[in-house]
Amino acid sequence: VTPGEKVRERLPRAASVRALNVGLGRIQNDALVPILGPILLLVVFAASEPRFLSTPNLQNMGVDAALLMVLATGTTYVILMGAIDLSLGALFGLGQVLVAMLVPDVGLWSFGVAVALGGCAGVVNGLVHVGLRIPSFLASLGMAGVWLTVALLMTDGTNVSIPVDDWPNVQWVAEPVLGVPKSIIVAAILLAGAIVIERRSTLGSYLYAIGANEEAARVSGVPVERYKIIVFGLAGAASTGGGALSAGTVLGASPTSGNPFVLIAIAAVVVGGTALSGGIGGIGRTVAGVAIITILGHGLTYLGIDPFAQQLVTGALVIVAVAATMDRSKRFVTK
């Protein structure tokens, strides 16, 4: 078997995987869990605690879900491509710090700066991964240390609070429009944009192509390296963007505040049904995953379980979801 034959043998599968994920083929048996999961959880928690469905709690859950959605959008793209980004937590902290430090000087622009610098940081992550040919989980782990240090140096290692005078410039995220906080609206717009990119743009098609079979994508003429760097850039922007949004809620910043979000964002993506092996799933699935993780978190808190202890549940959930969605036919050797 020549290499050429091997590639030809694989090509139809890449195409079929793509077809599977486009259009009506999307709703299948394995999509039932992501759709029914949040509804079931809501019913269970509402039955055990009626206050769970009260307006303030629903609003709280909505705000938390919006933040997670922003983070998980970037993570979904990265995972679809078959890579992983472990620098999300550090960049989240950096986004928070950037907003808190810059808002006294530049006001609202601090949000734009945070997102733009996050995009640059993400591009650097991508360059380290692709340019130095280091596996993404290690490249992003190493770079996480670098970004954390940048954030720590900016705040001199302490937590900073935003001066009261500048609150109007950051509190807009919580201001309601027709009863819906603006952070939810931001997340919804981002989500809509992400879905359009995923389904209608070249980037979207290439995401699936690279994730399904990177070699096949490369010989088919996809500039794999360039798109990987772009996607890491988008993920970086989403991470600092999430941090920036959260700065408006907590009215301050802590460089290490993003740590728990690494697992939660990955959890939302894989619980939704996007396979860690790449090429299967999408943003739509992540919406369900975000709903499951958010409802579960709030429900467990209502039941009196410490948020830190909940990591036990999230960790277990991730393992189960990864095991269930992995495409094992793709790799004979799992490293």
Binding site: G82, A83, I84, V128, H129, V130, L132, R133, I134, P135, S136, F137, L138, A139, L141, G142, M143, A144, G145, V146, L148, T149, V150, L152, L153, D156, G157, E214, E215, L263, I266, L276, G278, D306, F308, A309, Q310, Q311, L312, V313, T314, G315, A316, V318, I319, V322, A323, M326, R328, F332, V333, T334, K335
Partner: protein
């Protein structure tokens, strides 16, 4: 070399001088083998040129003590990395075992007083978590970095449940002073770590577990074809690493004197850097515990030099991240990575 100049299936016909190529490669690889050691000596030389107090006995013993727990953690990770996997659950396992150990010796939370046996229990708990890592990875086919990432947070969550929000202060003064004391001027902690290193070298060199770790990491498919029960040995390797991590967690908590869930923070980073900087390939099959010893010393010496030189400690994590990336960029065997994920 038997096939002098004769093209074979593995040698392209155009290569006219296989022998020179071979010699050149081995020279390069020999250089690479000693690069970490040279880097360590160079770093020491540079630091002692600026800060003569670096070479004083007390400072050297400080380094020995500071590198003790990272060395134990490093020995554990080395076996996992040699076999071609990775263990990201280090911080979670350390926290869990530290809490377990602190809750079983005389402490501020309950009436337990198991003394040294608490360390043994911590090792068993670590082994159990490691076994879970191995089963999830080897039996369920989940990539090791993902399985262990999940276990990291699960173990951390469990540690939170156990300790209940308040640091567990250890009140077994006898045990504390035994661990933090010294014998003939050498810290006990360092002696324990060197013993673990010696045991690790024995296992790596003269036992089936060690040899199979290299075989699996070198080429998993080949190892399986050769009849090695790779799944069983992967689980064993993860479990053994977990037990050693349990010991590290216990030592760490006895050094600090109070159990807290943040006790493992930063260890993952530090340890992966140390293992890779020492020359153990992240792709598996190459390296060993002695490499890790050099890597741990290098990282600790850099830390120590930064403290002596009065450099802002905040950049420590960033320096380690950069060192990790640099070491990976130099040492990674790309021919073993078919598709870069």
């Amino acid at each position: 070399m038997a096939n002098k100049g004769v093209p074979t299936a593995t040698q392209p016909a155009g290569d006219r001088s296989p022998r020179t190529a071979q010699t050149g490669r081995s020279l390069g690889s020999r250089l690479r083998e000693f690069a970490p050691m040279v880097m360590l000596l160079l770093t020491c030389a540079i630091i002692s040129a600026f800060e003569p107090s670096f070479l004083e006995w007390t400072n050297l013993m400080n380094i020995a003590e500071a590198s003790a727990v990272p060395l134990v953690v490093g020995v554990a990770l080395t076996f996992v990395v040699i076999s071609g996997s990775i263990d990201l659950s280090i911080e979670g396992v350390l926290a869990l075992c530290a809490i377990v150990c602190s809750l079983l010796v005389a402490n501020s939370h309950n009436g337990m007083a198991l003394g040294v046996w608490a360390v043994v229990v911590a090792c068993i708990v670590g082994a159990a978590v490691g076994w879970l890592n191995g089963v999830l990875h080897a039996r369920f086919g989940i990539p090791s970095f993902m399985a262990t990432l999940g276990v990291w947070f699960a173990a951390l969550g469990l540690a939170f449940v156990l300790y209940g929000g308040q640091p567990v202060v250890i009140e077994d003064k006898a045990l504390l002073s035994r661990v933090t004391g010294d014998i003939a001027g050498v810290p006990v902690l360092a002696l324990i770590a060197w013993t673990v290193l010696g045991l690790g070298y024995y296992v790596q060199r003269w036992t089936r577990l060690g040899r199979y770790a290299y075989a699996i990491g070198g080429d998993e498919v080949l190892a399986e074809t050769a009849g090695i029960p790779i799944r069983r040995y992967k689980v064993l390797i993860f479990a053994a690493a977990g037990a050693v991590l349990g010991l590290a967690g216990a030592l760490n908590v006895l050094l600090v004197g109070a159990g807290d869930t943040t006790i493992g923070n930063g260890e993952l980073f530090q340890t992966v850097s140390a293992v890779v900087v020492g020359g153990t390939a992240i792709t598996g099959g190459v390296g060993g515990v002695l490499n890790t010893f050099v890597g741990v010393l290098l990282i600790t010496v850099i830390d120590n030099g930064m403290i002596l030189g009065g450099i802002n400690p905040l950049i420590e994590t960033g320096v380690k991240g950069a060192v990790l990336i640099l070491a990976l960029a130099v040492s990674l065997d790309r021919s073993k990575i078919a598709v870069l994920k």
